[in-house]
Symmetry: C2
């Protein structure tokens, strides 16, 4: 009898353990945005679907614009002390943190499995957030060459080739070259005039789900720092993964109670832009420290982790980099 | 001792049972698409991020276009005999099947919890699929009024009002009016010239993950039927939720081995377009039957389920409608 119960207990526990992702809840929502009114345009007749019935479409009226999209995953056994918000970089979406372009697990699954309630999002005008023709200026579309040469995957201008075997990758690059084509499929057009709208929507998100930890990448470096400055009581820690933009220099003191981790990959010294981008960020973080704040910088090559590109959440050693972030969050007392 | 083991077993089982979503795996990928080459455009200097360092952007080169996005959830205990693919309607994304605009569970969670491996996607040019300025024609943007009046939520032209208490909803409408504003945040621009590209990407998806069941909504009625005609050996059942477009009339015999369920909501007779849209679909399904196929039609009001809009996966009784689909799939022997 004892043995039967023991077997049952073991089997039941094994059943649990073998569900690698056990969620209490998952779902999505849109947040933020505003309404604009358009008038004076002609009514059109649109056949939305081939073989369908034409419909009159009046383009005049009220439009919903500048909202953002958020997908959340709440683990069954929550171990993060606060929700973890993940914000992608420019020309990309929340897909950044999902499965890597060569099919391995990304940081989304990593942090969910660690027990963090994760909110992964698409910023205003990107992905499932939708977009409008009311944005100022033209959107920027990137060639397949561009990120390869600019994200320190390749050795710079002229390093891209359609044939992966002819690509001039950085020596020892951790980026999965066989997945580069798939990576370019993740790109979305982006404007350069929408920063204020993006920040407004992120503030609406923080007001809805925080206190929290915010992890940002690249363009979202600006958004994470500015939103933390706008809501210093709600952003309890900031993880800046190769931030490409800064906070407001006049408001550095607002970050004095928000511990900051900044992580940089490899090949920065050889790049045309990244030494300056990093130096500007370091200068601002020094100002934060002077105002009473604290930050830590991990330059991966300096801790023996070599070959990382700007897209380190997709690199072959992406989970090793995630371990560094996880360890830092634990040190901040944000993990149960 | 017995009691301790029993307690352990019960506690362990309860631990499992209380993880409402137990997944073996989840992830995402992009599929399909092609490359185009652009030349002769001027090189620009772009400051991607305020406070960043300007970069030269050469718009000439190779672009990735017409891929689609897919997110998948594989339950720990799979009970669907095949994967279930969910394809959204026009001007929308896979968000259609996620949390309803008023915050209840949608069909994505419903079918995952039933044990289906679900592949929820964003079609070419929608959401996380990305888009390009190389599509022909202009995208269509919808006012907040438009879906309210066209999706049989309101009583027709003039029925929308920004103030929910003044909206003229269909009598007994099941659409959650308090969530209508949120619903409009889910909308994305869409072209009317991209059907072939969308179908090509869906075929690439089917080739990658099927045999399967395909569930489609509205505009995707056309895509589901045409893709099943292109891959009759791979699409083992079709669920058409208010299909707005048809298959290829010359190829109806290709659907003879694919059982089809078609579901319609309420208020169709009063609508300007839906009686014709439904009649055209019925005529084509009769041709499928004449060719040896089989289909079933559920007009919800005729089985006592009243008040459903075109967005029945979001309506207040959305899970009751899902039960009908689940029951039909079970009857087809597609559920373990």
């Amino acid at each position: 009898m004892k043995k039967i119960f023991l077997t049952m207990a073991v089997a039941a526990l094994a059943g649990c353990a073998s569900a690698p992702i056990a969620l209490k809840d998952m779902g999505s929502f849109h947040v933020g945005g505003r309404e604009i009114t358009v008038s004076g345009r002609p009514v059109k007749e649109v056949t939305f679907t081939a073989g369908g019935v034409p419909a009159k479409v009046d383009p005049n009226g009220v439009y919903q614009v500048e909202q953002m999209y958020v997908q959340y995953f709440i683990p069954q056994n929550e171990r993060g002390a606060l929700p973890l918000l993940m914000w992608h970089g420019g020309g990309l979406t929340g897909v950044t943190y999902e499965t890597t372009p060569d099919g391995r697990e990304g940081w989304l699954n990593y942090f969910i499995k660690k027990g963090w309630a994760v909110y992964n999002s698409d910023a205003v005008e990107r992905g499932r957030a939708g977009w409008t023709d009311a944005f100022k200026g033209d959107p920027v579309f990137l060639t397949k060459e561009n990120p390869f040469e600019r994200f320190r995957i390749g050795t710079g201008p002229g390093s891209y080739d359609k044939d992966p075997s002819k690509m001039k990758a950085q020596p020892g690059s951790q980026f999965p070259l066989e997945g580069y084509d798939n990576f370019t499929k993740q790109g979305v057009p982006r404007w350069t005039t929408t920063d204020d709208a993006i920040i407004a929507a992120y503030i609406a998100l923080v007001d809805k789900v925080c206190p929290c930890v915010v992890l940002v990448h690249s363009q979202a470096g600006q958004f994470g720092q500015k939103v933390a400055q706008a809501r210093p009581d709600k952003v309890k820690a900031l993880v800046l993964v190769e931030p490409a933009g800064l906070g407001d220099a006049k408001l550095v003191d607002r970050l004095k109670n928000t511990p900051i981790l900044t992580v940089y990959g490899d090949f920065i010294e050889q790049d045309a832009r990244w030494p300056t981008i990093r130096a500007n960020q370091m200068k601002q973080l020094e100002a934060v420290r002077a105002a009473g704040g604290r930050y830590e910088v991990v330059n991966l090559p300096q801790v023996g982790i070599k070959g990382n590109s700007h897209m380190m959440m997709m690199d072959k050693n992406n989970l090793q980099v995630a371990d560094i972030i996880q360890g830092w969050l634990e040190k901040q007392g944000l993990y149960k």
